[in-house]
Point group: C2
DNA sequence: GCACTGCTTTACGTTAACGTAAGAGAGACG
DNA sequence: CGTCTCTCTTACGTTAACGTAAAGCAGTGC
């Protein structure tokens, strides 16, 4: 368990993912583990990328979108337009998320109303039951 | 185009969905159009339910979750146990939604941080460009 | 030498929410 | 009667992000 290179199992334990997931991410060009014989070895760069991938997923990004964002992190000599486009994608995503949150809050309020209803109905029913004894 | 009953096409035009979607919702027991011969006729109850379905989808609910919520809206003369169970489902759902909202808020904050980063990178880059002229 | 463990590739399976195509009945119109 | 338009049912196709066998190397322990 070198500090620099980790096996697939060490990665899985460290980041709580399956081997399949790591191989899948590699096939999608999100990770680039090196090979020792036939085995994969994940570098600290892969670990940094994986962290960002998992974070991106929590944000609700698709893997394809995440790949674009990773390119943003990676960039050194890219074109400004490309940069701007990726940035725009992220800003749009933020806006979507805020809208989604607002609607979610609305839905929560609605549901709370329904539940007050439900409580009332149940209370009435239980009263009737007691009265009927 | 009666006020009370609408054909599938009228529904599609009114709510911007496809016939396939309406039939699919019927197959999932989200809608209950009546039949005139072999044709479907959607009542105002179906329209009310469809509105709630579309709203639920915007909230990010699955169709199955929406069906449960619709049942909550529908309730009137159910049995107490059934009522209690449905109520519990709804309460659980509310809790899930609040958790989801909290995570979403966290994600939004994180993403905001990332974007500040992005802005910085872009600013630096543009500075370099100017300096490089 | 042989079993065991861990890794590999290949490739079909899964879920949600429809899309899409095929083939047919049914009423309206000219 | 023929054609058009609308609708119907049936059923396979699609996308994302992996899950889940199946079958086989490779190193390690005994």
């Amino acid at each position: 368990m070198s500090e620099e290179q980790m096996t697939i199992r060490e990665m899985c334990d460290a980041y709580d993912v399956t081997p399949r997931t790591l191989r899948f991410y590699e096939s999608k060009e999100l990770l680039f583990p090196i090979r020792e014989g036939q085995k994969r070895l994940f570098t600290k760069r892969d670990r940094a990328r994986l962290k960002l991938i998992l974070r991106g997923k929590r944000f609700g990004f698709s893997l394809e979108e995440i790949r674009q964002l990773l390119d943003l992190y990676d960039m050194g000599d890219q074109q400004a337009t490309q940069l701007q486009r990726t940035y725009d994608v992220a800003r749009q995503r933020l806006q979507d998320m805020e809208e989604q949150r607002d609607e979610l809050n609305e839905a929560i309020d609605d549901l709370r109303e329904q539940l007050k209803w439900g409580e009332q109905i149940i209370a009435d029913f239980e009263n009737d039951l007691k009265a009927a004894q």
